[in-house]
């Protein structure tokens, strides 16, 4: 079984075998859509583990010097850039939800650039070490910080192998209503959960496409017909620090 496919649980397998006959009948009926169009989950329904959101990043298409994904994230979520209200913090301590990383292979001199953000692990080390349960993995695979119960201890920042998290050191004003952030809490990429819940795409992915690079694909890893699953099946996708066995939701090609 692929590591991006849905973990089999006995009750579900049981259900699937029973439901098989009905599904087969629906498939042979003429004019019936076999794949339902992408519909946003109703606002009053809980997220389920029927989906697992992920991003596939093709480093060959990621342009050196382009930071469209980073600025889109800044604008969308109100950190850094023009809206940076963290005037007192030193550069290395400021919020960084997503960063561009440059890799140079010493032997050949070949340079690769890629965006690095929260990898949305299936077994997130940040959630493992969190003493209050503020760091958690949502049913659909998005790793979040519940800032209401975060006490700002920053264990998660030390546990994260990707340096994906940052801490807010000072009072902020004019945060976005869809991305609340405040002093004394840890934050990281939310996979634009407010957009995803409305059936949308993360701001970075959207920006990459509108720049014409199309280096990022967002989608449901459990859906075999989604664009991301098709590309993963065809070309594969590597995890950064795969040796840690975290089964990340963000995958890379060409590294």
């Amino acid at each position: 079984m692929k590591d991006t496919s849905k973990p089999a649980d006995p009750s579900r397998r049981d259900f699937m075998s029973k439901a098989g006959a009905t599904a087969g009948m629906a498939a042979v009926a003429p004019g019936v859509l076999l794949t339902s169009p992408a519909v946003a989950r109703p606002a009053d329904e809980k997220v389920t583990s029927d989906k697992r959101w992920g991003i596939l990043i093709d480093t060959a298409k990621c342009a050196s010097g382009c930071t469209a994904c980073v600025s889109a994230c800044e604008t969308e979520n109100g950190w850094g850039g023009e809206s940076n209200t963290e005037k007192q913090s030193s550069d290395e301590q400021r919020a960084q939800w997503i960063r561009k990383v440059q890799l140079k292979e010493k032997a050949t001199g070949h340079v690769t650039t890629l965006p690095l953000m929260c990898q949305h692990c299936e077994t997130p080390p940040c959630a493992d070490v969190c003493p209050t349960g503020a760091s958690f993995r949502r049913a659909d695979g998005i790793v979040l910080v519940d800032k209401h119960i975060c006490i700002g201890c920053r264990y998660c920042m030390m546990a994260c192998p990707y340096k994906a998290r940052s801490f807010i050191h000072e009072d902020l004003k004019d945060q976005k209503p869809w991305a609340p952030r405040g002093k004394g809490t840890v934050e990281s990429c939310t996979l634009c959960v407010h957009r995803v819940d409305e059936g949308g795409t993360p701001a970075c992915v959207e920006a990459c496409s509108s720049e014409g690079h199309y280096a990022m694909v967002f989608g449901d890893l459990y859906d075999d017909n989604s664009e991301i699953s098709r590309q993963l099946e065809q070309h594969g996708g590597k995890q950064i620090r795969a040796d840690l066995g975290l089964n990340t939701g963000v995958r890379y090609r060409g590294i």
Binding site: A43, V47, T75, R138, H148, W178, D197
Partner: protein
């Protein structure tokens, strides 16, 4: 059936008037002011009436608004439930009012709707260290999801606070199908 006598009519009208009078007095028997009797609460920007009331009756909201917000908060963060009815953002969209200068009153100002009572009652709640204290995006974007009448309003919003990207997305997605 005979017409009600004039006396009966007058008594009826009087009893209705008595009911309409403010029931609570402002002081107890010994003349000490009752709690909250001298509180001047900021009027909500949008006025509620019999046909257009808050998401729950006023007395319920005055006592228990925090429970609704707290419940909604956990459901939204952990389960991704994004109904608008008890969302803090919708409280702000309705209740935030503007000062004489035409700008929305910020929460540091005791005239801010939440602050007007919280500062009086010495409630130091830190919602607005993270959350927006003034309307940022119009609630009409979400009207199809809310279904509550006054979440359909198209009020002005603090446009410079709203990222163009997010608004663009919401403007296309929030339209009723």
């Amino acid at each position: 059936m005979s017409q009600p006598s004039l006396l009966n009519r007058v008594l009826g009208i009087l009893s209705v008037l008595l009911l309409l009078m403010p029931a609570a007095s402002t002081a107890d028997e010994e003349g000490h002011p009752l709690p909250f009797s001298d509180l001047v609460l900021t009027e909500p920007a949008r006025h509620f009436s019999a046909t257009q009331e808050c998401v729950e009756p006023e007395d319920e909201m005055r006592r228990n608004h925090m429970n609704y917000i707290l419940h909604q908060r956990d459901e939204t963060v952990h389960d991704g439930i994004r109904t608008r009815q008890y969302a803090l953002e919708e409280c702000i969209n309705c209740h935030a009012s503007k000062g004489e200068d035409g700008e929305y009153i910020r929460v540091e100002d005791p005239r801010h709707f939440c602050a007007s009572c919280h500062s009086y009652a010495s409630v130091s709640i830190d919602c607005f260290q993270c959350h927006a204290d003034v309307p940022v995006r119009p609630s009409s974007l979400q009207q199809s999801r809310s279904g509550h009448p006054h979440h359909l309003a198209r009020e002005n919003f603090a446009g410079d606070l709203a990222g163009k990207t997010a608004l663009g997305l919401l403007a296309t997605e929030g339209k009723p199908q």
